[in-house]
Amino acid sequence: MLKSFFTLIAASLLLVQTAGAAETVKLALIDPLTGPMAGAGQPALEHLKFEAKRINANGGIAGKQLEIVGLDNKVNPQESLVQLQKAIDGGIQYVTQGNGSSVASALIGAVEKHNQRNPGKEVMYLNYAAVDPSFTNERCSYWHFRFDANADMKMNALTSYIAENKDIKKVYLINQDYSFGHAVSEAAREMLKEKRPDIEIVGNDFHPLAKVKDFTPYISKIQSSGADAVISGNWGQDITLLVKAAAEFGLDAPFYTYYGASSGVVTQLGDKGVDRIYQINEYYGDFEDEEMAKRQVNMYKETGWDFYYLRLSTLLDMFKKAADKAGSTDPVAVAKAMEGLSLETTTGEVVMRAEDHQIQLPMFISVMQDDMEYGAEGTDYNFHKVARIDRDDVTLPTTCRMRRPK
């Protein structure tokens, strides 16, 4: 009985190990690829694979072909560590992940410990969407690089925009009841107080994460508070159901959100989201750049997923630039080259700040509209650019004291 299990393990391990050819460099995506959260991980995997083709056609990473490996973690931190070990044993030295600060927290700790305990076999962690500010502040790590603006930077950009908008006098905050939701609420209160002391916070609600089916009671509360605008960091079903309930009850206040354009939201909201749901993101749905528009169309045709994660393209481009600069795909060299690296993207110049490994980039406020030239998720709806917030207005100081290996 036990023997057959050994052969099973051995067989499966062999498959992982023989997969690597000589002249490739592998990047593992550790994200939910099966189960109820697969809708968050699958588009990222497809995006990476799609962009890897472009990178490889342009000479690859320091001359080597880039290969994307998807590893399923079911958004479970413990399972992520098992998958990380699998990646490391398969000779993979670069991992990327985005969904869930719990997973990111586990990976930062594990990568840090692995690199300390296994010099010469370093692993680099490229974070594309876990936005807990602490990862580039008190918990910053030399081996962690973040390619998304953190939650505080997004709020900084958003509040700058709201501060300009004199019509907004009363703001309602509604967030998920866990560390991220609390961080969003706290940042909103602090920054609004500083930038527009006259704005009144008329409500500050927390609801349990992914448990609320019917948001109408919250909408009644917002309605009776007389709010001019709602700020929410909700993601997944929590943002869809929230805005949907608002539309049904004729609540016309705009919703300023972090994740209004994540997959599935546009499809479900339809006309209920038009002119109601705003988002703060590094990109928007207009695709003025022709080359980007072509990529969006091609990617949707090929994979059935939208070109949502501009930051994944940025991540791969910066990875390539750093590796080419270092002339090597050794993580020690690449990490060194990545510090302070700048890249010209379709939205402007972005910089990987050396102090805390937090990318510095311009952000955009956009609003959902109908009859767009490039529709999202096969519909005619997409997010139309409303305002651009420059890099200098997004950036925030860091408390990171980076411990660099000798």
Binding site: G39, D214, Y218, S220, K244, E248, F249, T267
Partner: protein, 313 residues
Amino acid sequence: MLELVIFSTLNGVLYGLLLFMLSSGLTLIFSMMGVLNFAHASFYMLGAYFAYTLGMYTGFWPALILAPLLVGALGSLVERFGLRRVHANGHVAELLFTFGLAYVIDELVQMVWGTVAVAYREPSYMREPLFTLFGTDYSIFRGVVILISILMFIALWYLLKKTRVGMMIRAALTHGEMVGHLGHNVPRLFMGVFGFGCALAALAGVIGGPLLATEPGMAATLGPIVFVVVVVGGMGSLQGAFYASLLIGLLQTFFVAIDASLADVFNALGANLDPYGEVGRISLATLAPMTPFILLVLILIFRPRGLMGELEP
């Protein structure tokens, strides 16, 4: 304040009615066959997805009838070829079977309809406001949902109390063997009741889909709450399930509406809780979605037979 009370009541009743539609089928199945069907919410999800797909060809109203019929047939098949087989191995085996079935249905739904939510929406004419009160709209669709739920409740009551089949079902609830001895085909009755219960869940799905969301996680999040309704209402009691559904619907809605923290509540009762401490600052709104489970544990400890039930589970 008045508008908050009125809308909270309306919302609470609506949510309660939806819960009842879901749990009435489960109560029937549970009290007759002793099976706490873990996959019940999965049939609710199937109802929504079927109605979405059918609705593209037939429109909303035919789908409202067809989807529950299809799901009901599917439920009967599950009973005939799955549950009946495991029945010999006892209740634990039956429960495990439905537990596994929920897994499989959830995965199959993802396989067929994808991992992202689908655009299942009510017909556009139902999005118009039915009435506007204090500047807040109440859509026609919500009115329709309430109407359908009430019609269903009346139909169910009529079926159970006034028809021959209903009499048989009620008899089989308490004296299953005797019904069998009288020459009725009890296994077929079980099959019918299971299918009927699933069809009720699917009906809830058809109207719950556009109201909430049609996505692969919709079963997993609502599933446990349905159990709570059945247990709190009391085993085998449709009336109990009705009261429990409304109670939970209203409790959740009003907990959200009341702007108070735990410290406010306890300090009003004479306790001395730090309003900025980790316990004291938890707001009632935060606790709202947990109320069903708190209620469940309290009921099971202090009144195990539930609100209206005659037997302990």
